[in-house]
């Protein structure tokens, strides 16, 4: 199931559109910064990394990750996880998979695994595009941390990869919610939109001070904690919380998906 999913993604235009959109972002950042070097005066409203990218190509992948996270990441999770089962139902291929037979549990888990693998590849792609163009245009230099110390190029590269890994763990909860929605409907676009909206709503709610009590329980609450990797020493608290929340969402929603799908009539 898993391998077939990757093969299907490989032969689908949608995958390349998504990759082009995501890979283009760090490239755009590099171009924008190259064309109009920000002065310290207008760096106030620019994202924090944007100012320093000028001096260091390593900032391109990192800024790329930071920029895609709030919107493009939920979108990618929706397209990959939300469409997972509902898309097959809509195409009618779901019934042919089930009589092949693919056990319903294996189908759901395989779909989730494939969605996560593709999200991971997309994140690596963003890092790769950013590193390549950032390196070509600006070269790599030791990276200043948020605490004022510096990281060697090798250390910084490892931390950037770790950040991508953490971001992937962070989106695993939204992906599980997406797969769960996907087992409940026969409309692919419906499940995609619902997943994207839930992800973005969670981020918006996370910004509303009055709702502070529920913030720690939001699936996206820990997303920005990857910046803690660039402190000295690294602060693990925020990321630990983020991973726990994602794991909890993944466990709950995958269980709901497995249980509801195992007894559902597949008529599409």
């Amino acid at each position: 199931m898993f391998r077939v999913e990757l093969m299907k993604a490989w032969r689908r235009w949608r995958t390349y559109l998504l990759a082009a959109a995501l890979g283009g972002i760090p490239v755009l950042i590099v171009i924008a910064v190259k064309l109009s070097p920000p002065t310290s005066a207008d760096s106030g409203d620019a994202p924090p990394f944007l100012f320093q990218i000028l001096r260091n190509g390593l900032f391109a992948p990192l800024t790329g990750l930071a920029v895609i996270q709030p919107f493009f990441l939920p979108l990618a999770a929706g397209l990959l996880a939300g469409d997972a089962v509902a898309g097959e139902a809509q195409a009618g291929t779901l019934r042919y998979l089930l009589v092949r037979p693919v056990a319903r549990t294996r189908l759901v888990l395989g779909k989730y695994g494939a969605a996560m693998a593709l999200l991971g590849l997309l994140l690596l792609w963003v890092v790769g595009c950013g590193a390549f163009w950032g390196g070509v245009v600006f070269g790599f230099k030791p990276l200043p941390t948020l605490s004022g110390t510096t990281l060697s190029v090798a250390q910084a590269s490892l931390r950037i990869l770790a950040a991508a890994g953490y971001i992937l763990l962070g989106v695993s909860g939204i992906a599980a919610i997406g797969v769960c929605i996907s087992t409940l409907t026969d409309s692919g676009p419906g499940a995609i939109v619902a997943t994207v909206i839930l992800g973005i709503t969670s981020e918006i709610v996370d910004q509303i001070p009055n709702l502070r009590v529920i913030h720690p329980y939001l699936p996206t609450h820990g997303w920005l904690a990857f910046t803690d990797l660039f402190r000295f020493p690294v602060e693990w608290g925020g990321m630990r919380g983020g991973v726990l929340i994602s794991a909890a969402y993944t466990a709950v929603f995958l269980t709901v998906a497995l249980v509801s799908f195992s007894r559902r009539d597949v008529v599409a």
Binding site: G92, R95, V99, R263
Partner: protein
């Protein structure tokens, strides 16, 4: 061994038994035609037989394995199916679709055997030249052929096909009929639904007629038709003729289409009918005894036309 058994199989939708206490037995190696008008419950029965939807009551056994328990996967692996209509990944070629479905079930020996049969089944359904085209670009008949190819891919012991000739041209229909007959003669059990009586009549060993979710008749097509006969009579004055015949003992029913009457007999013989008409002053220009066709039987069993539901 029996290939497919249903016992008291029932599916209720919105308080209506769409499939109603259905008892079916399909024997190994037979070609069974599952006949019924639109909405009779054929597809619903097939979905339950393959475990896609859950019965409201009763049970299904496929190749001796209860469908809603553990052994089902073993049975499904030995079954090929076309359900309602074929469905494929439109962005992949026909060949890659077969590959995807072969691999989706695992990557062991069984998947390899399926992969090695792709060329053969494409050939069998006459799709070899279009195998590398994307399914997006297929005509309806080509998709139908690919659907049959997919059902055949695992060299199944049981084939469950829901209206396999849907959308095929006459030559294609004939090819499929011959193919199914050949498979059944080679020992494959074929369970095929249809509303095309003629098709079922020429190819099936046994036919079951479904109406409003119930099996209303079952048997070899010849037996089902039985020995029932009717007379086709052409007369000058059909109204007068009908009145005379209604009064005659041994006549079961009369239907008229213009100057032609169809007279169903129940005891009377053609000579008596002729004599009665002539002595009543009706000119008889033709009188032919015809055996009831399966269509006659079918129409009387399913009570008229229109959608059931």
């Amino acid at each position: 061994m029996t290939a497919l058994v249903t016992r008291g199989l029932t599916k209720r939708y919105d308080g209506v038994n769409v499939v109603d206490s259905l008892d079916l037995t399909v024997n190994h190696g037979e070609l069974y035609g599952f006949l019924g008008p639109n909405g009779a419950g054929k597809t619903t029965t097939i979905r339950m037989a393959l475990g896609l939807i859950f019965p409201s009551g009763g049970e299904v056994e496929l190749l001796g394995e209860p469908m809603f328990r553990r052994g089902r996967d073993h049975a499904l692996r030995r079954t090929g199916a076309l359900i309602e209509e074929p469905a494929f990944y439109r962005f992949l070629s026909g060949r890659r679709n077969l590959e995807a479905f072969a691999r989706a079930g695992g990557d062991g020996e069984e998947a390899r055997r399926r992969l090695s049969r792709i060329d053969e089944v494409l050939e069998q359904v006459g799709l070899s030249p279009a195998g590398d085209k994307r399914v997006k670009a297929y005509s309806q008949g080509m998709r139908q052929r690919l659907g049959i190819a997919l059902a055949l891919l695992g060299r199944p012991e049981v084939l469950v096909l829901d209206e396999p000739t849907n959308g095929l041209d006459p030559a294609g229909m004939r090819e499929v009929r011959l193919l199914l007959r050949r498979l059944a003669d080679g020992g494959t059990t074929v369970f095929v639904s249809s509303h095309l009586l003629a098709e079922v009549e020429v190819m099936c060993d046994r036919v079951g007629v479904l109406s409003r979710g119930r099996l209303v008749a079952e048997g070899p097509p010849g037996n089902l038709r039985g020995g029932a006969e009717h007379l086709r009579i052409e007369v000058g004055d059909p109204e007068r003729a009908a009145a005379i015949l209604r009064a005659l003992a041994g006549v079961a029913g009369i239907e008229g289409e213009g100057r032609v009457l169809r007279v169903h007999l129940d005891g009377a013989n053609p000579a008596q009918v002729n004599a009665a008409l002539v002595s009543g002053g009706v000119a008889v220009s033709a009188l032919v005894s015809e055996r009831d066709t399966l269509e006659d039987v079918f129409m009387s069993l399913v009570e008229g036309s229109g959608v059931q539901g």
